[in-house]
Amino acid sequence: MAGKREAEVDDRFRRFGTVGFTGITRVNDFITHLEEGRVAGTRCAACGKVFFPPRADCMACFSSRMSWFPVEGHGRLVSWSRLAFGPAGFQEEVPYTIALLDYGDFKVFGRIDRNLPEEELAVGLAMTVRAERLAGDRLSYVFVKA
């Protein structure tokens, strides 16, 4: 990377979430997939292990050759919590609900669609993940009922 001008730095990941804390990662393509409406994980091209969140490197076989796959079908709601307080940068979104979905081969951490009332949630509920555009050209994903 030496000698690359700053303008060429690939910091697509800065656009992820309400507030981003990471700009540069070797899985920056995640953002391009989100922009095209897909939530995607990686699969190790050498040993076939699947990863979500996506990884650039396989700890099982040490390969860094990865292919992308879309998260499809539905996951089951493992648990959730509705926050009455938020950290800096999130206060205006309160209350919102963070959650975890189990897809079997992997799990996805994220947020539940704010239009879904908490009373309708239950552990084991079938949900799907959907790419979402946020204000200010930012990108994320939310969980909706399957």
Partner: protein, 389 residues
């Protein structure tokens, strides 16, 4: 390997905002441990300083603290595993002494959480997890433990009242603990009264009363090799077992949501090393940063089978007079949680209990005590077992 004992313990009062600098705060716990053990700085061969660095302005705090405590030119260094930093320090001190590199080590834990502004604190709260894949959703520590609480309730029928009972127990002993930040009684009706501050929502299903408070504080644990320990004034309290483990930061990487896998693994190691089982523990300090955390600890440590932790609190088995007294100093819920000082404070309580010096909180004739100290949301787990001769 040499046997290792705790020979001196100390802690500052835990307070909302300490009116002094971090070195002065660290001195408070250190002085008490030195006086407790009849020690001077010249007796200390090395120091290990523990805190969570996101609350510190001072870079590399070990240096300034060792200087202020009179611990130059002995080696000093810094250890960090979030909320379990100081038990990581104790475990490391044990290994350095057991191996013969040093004879006497002071483990100094401190945290001045009021060192940074509340705006800075709000910002740091958002970075307490996986900053690449979780923090962009606006996560906070209580919400993660809340997710464990929800999963535990769904799997086993644990109720909000079970969690409230843990807070009520905590307050009974917090009232007795002169070093605790929260010394008021908390009652069961308070936690179900929507008008009461204690019942206010934080992260569903957890309420204000389910959460511990930030605090400023310091602790100090001095460990020594057997020969030294026997020559000192206090009855030695031996380190019998020291287990430690880790788990994925990101919840997506985990498989267990009704307990903490790192705690279970650390407990397995500690019991094996000590050659004792859960039934032989006479008194325990567990990491009750949230009420659900204490309930899961009952199960992760084997005091109850998975899903049956609630029976221990319903039957008052974890009260001082019960079968397995837990957090009879008020725990984090009442003492407050000055991150880097917390584990040392837990060790201090167990050492005082095993010496018979715990005053109004004293359990009857304990011989074996356990400390369970967790960093992050089960990211790091340390379990230490102590015993007398």
């Amino acid at each position: 390997m040499r046997r290792v004992a705790v020979v001196g313990v100390g802690q500052s009062e835990f307070v909302r905002a300490y009116p002094g600098s971090i070195r002065e705060l660290a001195f408070e716990g250190f002085r008490e441990a030195m006086q407790d053990g009849g020690l001077t700085p010249a007796d200390i061969d090395a120091s290990i300083v523990c805190s969570a660095p996101e609350y510190d302005r001072q870079r590399s705090p070990a240096g300034v603290i060792a200087e202020y405590l009179g611990l130059n030119p002995q080696p000093t260094f810094y250890v960090e595993t979030l909320c379990s930093s100081s038990t990581s320090g104790v475990r490391l001190a044990w290994s350095l002494i057991a191996a013969g590199l040093h004879d006497v080590i002071a483990v100094i834990g401190f945290q001045k959480m009021s060192e940074i502004s509340s705006a800075e604190s709000q910002e740091r709260m958002g970075r307490g997890a996986d900053i690449q894949w979780e923090s962009p959703f606006g996560t906070m520590m209580p919400a993660y433990y809340a997710m464990y609480a929800r999963a535990h309730m769904a799997a086993y029928g644990t109720t909000l009242e079970d969690l409230a009972l843990i807070r009520v127990k905590s307050s009974v002993y917090g009232k007795l603990n002169e070093k605790a930040v929260y010394r008021k009684e908390v009652t069961l009706p308070q936690l179900s009264d929507p008008q009461d501050r204690m019942a206010g929502p934080v992260a569903s299903p957890l309420r204000v009363g389910d959460c511990c408070a930030n605090a400023d504080g310091s602790s100090c644990i001095v460990l020594a090799a057997e020969e030294k320990a026997r020559a000192l004034r206090k009855k030695p309290v031996w380190v019998l077992g020291a287990g430690a483990a880790s788990a994925p930061v990101n919840l997506a990487g985990r498989d267990l949501f009704t307990g903490l896998s790192a705690a279970r693994e650390a407990a397995r190691q500690a019991y094996r090393m000590a050659g004792v089982g859960p039934g032989e523990i006479d008194v325990a300090e567990v990491h009750d940063c949230f009420t659900i955390a204490e309930l899961m600890a009952y199960e992760d440590l084997g005091f109850a089978a998975p899903g049956e932790g609630r029976e221990l609190i319903r039957s008052r088995a974890t009260y001082r007079e019960g079968k397995i007294p837990v957090n009879v100093d008020g725990g984090l819920l009442s003492k407050g949680h000055p991150i880097g000082a917390t584990g040392g404070s837990q060790v201090r309580t167990i050492v005082l209990q095993l010496r018979g010096e715990a005053g109004p909180m004293q359990v009857k004739d304990p011989r074996i005590g356990l400390v369970h100290n967790i960093g992050g949301v089960g990211l790091y787990g340390n379990v230490l077992i102590f015993g007398t001769d």
